[in-house]
Symmetry: C2
Subunit: 340 residues, 2 copies
């Protein structure tokens, strides 16, 4: 049976939504057990005794906060995220879910659990909604800042493997994020990456920022600096549209009545753009599934993140990635070390 | 009196919206005349004789299409955009407006009109809407792909000068687009740029993608590769939200009734995110105002682009940029030549 280690304290709202999400997951899936890492006194109050056979508590009190640096996290061996990742490293758990400090989760996972053979740098992947009934997997959205062409090539392999093996898409299509569709478009790094990724089947070439939301391709590859900016830009636009509408709404009773009649439409929209539906963002390229959840995750997001971890842990994702990287013979370690 | 050269044929919809926009501008502003560059036979049919004292036609038939390369455009001396830019170069017009091939407009303007003293590479700036009653000027959104720290520094100077002198903002605040607010965030280029821009007054440090739409700062600096991606991402998110809502609307009469009641809210929203309201994107750093309009510009967008050109041409923007660049003593030409 699969065992999930979960950092029960790292989220912005403390242990409540995390444990509530874990209990939701347990109720909906009989095929896993969990180790909740955190303050035993607090956690045991949140876990009904009926779940004692499915949820173990690993008692520890230190929590890495959003204001701590990722390098600090490497030294604080009693922290919830450190302990949760150590469980995976020591073979006591199969996967880890954390809504805590994402830089700390990433650094610790990379150093403690280790990278897959052929992977120079792990990447964070995230699902973005489209207007069609599908999503686009985008990576890297922030694990690395300065990536070279080989890094982007490895992201392409990892993203395609994840889409195929975990998301179960048939022959997922890869696009390389650029400033135009033509092969001649791109900066120095993406132009070089284009050549490397051309060797991979189902590579559709360059795609643009709007293609992510059209669902033109299944996997979009970019460096983590660009990925972070596009993620925040997308959030910003959605927030702004909603704020402008809300402000205007307040000016007229007729508009408010209209909004009431349209509430189903707004609810569906929210569902589609809500990250809670997707769970968390997998860190691809390390030797065990690591799901990085939003700090503000609600119980539903945590439940879905746990399901993602289970899906990854029950797949052969890691060996698929290693085999494919070996096949393309570009699997020698990049000269650049991962930035942590 | 200011004279505007306008490429009357380069837009996606031919000369009609361009000339209609020009006539709108003429009706609303008595302080300029225009030279419409294009096929005299077609254009003269669109211009009522009463405007003959305000609009000259420069007859030429070749039009650079979206499928032509920017380098091709440099050789086609009879094209509308070539002729329009030549008018400015030869001192026969003060500014140019084009809804044609943006790469061609940019390359021709840079080579023919020339760069301001101290500017290594011109940049395209664009206004983005925020939820507050203000806009954010973002540059570069696509003139260059590989920019170094000095280029970004110059973009900061040019953007701040434009916001102050042309948009008439009091002490505009600059932000550097990065993957986090802390000074330690960024890629190699932006970290170096951070140090250079720190010397400029009203520099707020790093900003993130969502800050653009919050109106945290007045001017956001990024390289053209990132700028293009964020622009397309923003467009993509807005389009997708509208598509998802429209699809859901059709499923229910009640929702449709709601949308009818909310039409004022939607109309206001459209107004805020509509590029036609802003006109076009100024190419900053060349020796005369060049406004690059959207290929799909409607008459209103063209009218506003013409007003932008007039505002720039009647300002001392160019000398302000040159003086500030000289003052910061980092105005030696960058080793990198502009990419065209």
């Amino acid at each position: 049976m699969i065992k999930i280690a979960i950092d029960a304290m790292g989220g912005d709202f403390g242990p409540e939504p995390i444990i509530e999400g874990l209990i939701l997951a347990i109720r909906n899936n009989n095929n896993f057990t969990a180790i909740a890492v955190g303050d035993k006194e607090q956690l045991s109050k949140l876990i009904p005794p009926t779940f004692n056979d499915r949820i173990e508590i690993l008692d520890t009190k230190d929590v890495i906060s959003m204001h701590d640096s990722a390098t600090d996290a490497l030294k604080r061996k009693e922290s919830t995220i450190y302990k949760a990742i150590e469980l995976v490293k020591d073979g006591k758990a199969d996967a880890v879910v954390s809504a805590g400090h994402s830089g700390a989760s990433m650094s610790l996972a990379t150093l403690k659990i280790g990278r897959l053979k052929g992977v120079s740098r792990p990447a964070i992947a995230t699902l973005m909604p489209t207007s069609e009934n599908q999503n686009t997997l985008v990576l890297d959205v922030g694990a690395n800042v300065d990536s070279d062409a080989k890094n982007l090539f490895q992201f392409a392999i990892m993203g395609q493997a994840y889409a195929q093996v975990v998301l179960r898409l048939d022959e997922p299509i890869i696009g390389l994020l650029s400033n135009g569709e033509e092969e001649s478009k791109g900066n120095e790094v993406t132009k070089e990456a284009y050549k490397l990724i051309s060797k991979v089947p189902n590579f559709a070439g360059n795609v643009e920022g709007n293609d992510i939301f059209k669902g033109t391709v299944d996997v979009v590859v970019c460096d983590g600096f660009v990925g972070n900016i596009l993620l925040k830009t997308a959030e910003g636009v959605a927030d702004t549209i909603s704020k402008i509408m809300k402000k205007d709404l307040k000016r007229s009773l007729i508009s408010i009545a209209g909004a009431v009649l349209m509430r189903k439409v707004f609810k569906n929209l929210k569902l589609k753009v809500d990250y809670a539906e997707y769970g968390g963002a997998p860190l691809l390229g390390v030797k065990a599934p690591v799901i990085i959840s939003h700090g503000k995750s609600n119980p539903k997001a945590i439940k879905n993140a746990i399901f993602q971890a289970i899906n990854s842990a029950s797949s052969n994702l890691d060996s698929v990635i290693e085999q494919r990287l070996e096949k393309y013979l570009i699997n020698e370690s990049s000269s650049k070390e991962p930035t942590l």
